[in-house]
């Protein structure tokens, strides 16, 4: 049975790094894994998504509507963009952190401040954490992605066979290993 994860955020938030760690972990578990990234234009502050699929034999790296088992959102309003891709019964893990796009800043587009109230009311498995704020308190807001990873591993029970901490250590810049491990532990404990 193939499982599909969708990660969504804003260009520059580090969605690709945790996707790499996740797929390395699934491969270590013995699964076939595929991961679809989008590079290029959208990285300049646009909405970015990564898809990860794992199972016994995975064919397509990308998928369409109502096929994601889990959505991991790095930004509050981006959940809304990803929601049509969540299948019924699926899980949402999201940061409540807000990033205003240029159309929001210039007043051309409205920011949906009540996004998470609406998502919570509709999707039973909705988990909201303050990953950005917590990473900031640790001393580096860029560890937001690893806080989210910790929360995801705990929530989905992905840590039976895998030492995710060593995968984190192997994949983040050497100078940031300690703080990222703290970020992972923090996310895991939240």
């Amino acid at each position: 049975m193939t499982k599909s994860f969708l990660l969504i955020g804003v260009g520059g938030q580090g969605t690709i790094l945790i996707s790499r760690i996740l797929s390395a972990g699934f491969a270590e578990m013995g699964y076939d894994v595929k991961m679809a990234e989008i590079h290029g234009m959208s990285q300049r502050g646009g909405s970015v998504t990564t898809m990860i699929r794992y199972g016994d034999n995975v064919h397509s790296p990308n998928f369409g509507d109502a096929e994601a088992d889990v959505i991991i959102s790095f930004e509050k309003s981006e959940v809304l963009r990803a929601l049509p891709q969540l299948k019924k019964g699926g899980t949402v893990i999201t940061d409540s952190y807000e990033i205003y796009s240029v159309p929001v800043l210039t007043g051309a587009s409205e920011y949906p401040f009540d996004a998470l109230d609406q998502v919570r009311a509709e999707v039973p498995n909705t988990i909201v954490i303050e990953a950005f704020r917590e990473a900031e308190k640790l001393g580096n807001s860029r560890c937001q992605n690893i806080v989210l990873l910790g929360k995801l591993v705990r929530t989905m029970g992905l840590d039976e066979k895998i030492d995710w901490r060593s995968l984190v250590a192997a994949n983040v810049p050497p100078a940031t290993v300690d703080i990222n491990l703290k970020a992972y532990d923090l996310g895991y404990s939240m």
Binding site: R44, G45, H59, P61, G64, D65, L83, Y100, T106
Partner: protein
Amino acid sequence: MSDKKMMSGNEAIARGVWEAGVHVAAAYPGTPSTEILENIGALYKDDIYCEWSCNEKVAFEVASGASIGGARAFCAFKHVGMNVATDPIFSMGYAGVNGGLVFVTADDPGCWSSQNEQDNRNYAPHAKIAMLEPSDSQECLDYVKAAYELSERFDTPVMIRVTTRVCHSKSLVETGSRENISVRKYERNTSKFTLLPAVAIARHPVREKLLTELEEFAYDSPLNRVEETEGATVGVVTSGISYQHAREVFGDTASFLKLGITYPLSKKLVSEFCSRYQTIYVIEENDPYLETQIKALGFTNVHGKDLIPICNELNAGILRKALFNEEPGETYHVEAKAPARPPTLCAGCPHRGFFFALTKVLDQVVPVGDIGCYGLGCQAPFNGFDFSLCMGAGFSALVGLAQALKRQGDARKPLGMLGDSTFFHSGLTSLIDIVSSESNVIACVMDNSITAMTGHQDNPGTAKNLMGQPSPQIDIVALVKACGIDDDHLRVVDPIDMKAMDAALQDGISANGPFVIVTRRPCVLIKEVARANGRRHAVIDPEKCVGCKLCMKVACPAIAFRDGHAVIAEGSGCTGCGLCTQQCRLGAISIVEA
């Protein structure tokens, strides 16, 4: 499975190039192909001479020279880059190779980062060269190696056609070691490589014969594969990423003809397969490339583009809907909508100064864009250009536009913009055209010292090459002057310096004849620049800010408006460039270093 590595298609192609014993590799960056040469530069430069060429045509000619000289050569570009390179590609199709010659075209169904979704499979029959289509990262590696065998055996350049979802998807790959290939001896061979008319007309039948032999080879090549399902009445013909989607949708309910060699198509193999099934589905993205050829063989029980969309990329859900009218499963709906979040010029981007200045003279110019980060300037609030076509057109289109505007009494002056890398790519020849035609236009080179949009590749202006070595720095201003632009018709400015930028545009508008503005300020994402900026950022004094929003006119993602005041949002990436400080009439914005 643990001895395999997760690799993107691009990483696997780079690995395949190295394992195939390639000696020379050249490319011009372009999404989704860029990481191929980046990986060769980063990992294999000790064994492979590699370079970012000025453009795709140059890259293919570099590779062609290497092949004719006896080396194994490689070249890569995005789909529209192949348009630039087709002149030498078609010639090498006739000439053939000495050392193996393989190139990658990375197509972009869905236009994730491109101006069109052209299907470059159509080029293979047109150029009369072999084409392979891998479906995942392992095949990317394996097919590159197979391509060199084919190239040398059948004396043909081989095109490997991949798409965004192959290039940028990661899957598990088993790697091998590098083959020790010696360079073939170079010998003068004018009857093959000097494509004068008499030689070319003699080479044409040679090429046709080789294609016939290649088609015979394709019949039982392991690159083409039949996956038989017992009792199936449906046969699926497919290639590339579409094979993965087809497997996802049909599972074990159909048999598959998975084609790795899609030009020349083995008519015998396809006919044998298609005649065994009641219904044939041809699953392919964009054009009916395979379908047209299969129908030409006389098969009528074939479904393809009568059901499957020709536009945009595919996925399993789209196919289920198209083929079986099957709706996606249940999902969740909420009222709230995600805000528009288009990609945007970064905080601190030098181009912001240019576009902000341009907004003040938009009634006096007709701005024309080009391909690069500055393409983001076309959006509101800047509305920084009216049209953009392809690399170089930002300058050359001005010549014809000036004539058209003059003939309808439109007094506005054409103003074109392109970046440093684009200037080296094809802007230089366009500028020569502007000068030699004495066109009354403004040509702006927006020099941010890097090929930025594709992720920071070096170019002839950056003084460093792909192999990490220092290289001669080509001076853009000296080139502009050498083209015949004198000091009166040239301004070199820092685009964040508002006074200088405004003055340069005014001078350009009032000048007669070709006028060039070079804006010079490095991209803030260049590591050394970011390091030098340190923690510098702007702060807005809430006591002094009256909430006039003048600073917000520069449309910087770092400035937000809260409780009646402009604020520099935390974590916004403000670099303290100082564009907004020049807008504030009350001195409420200052730059701090920590």
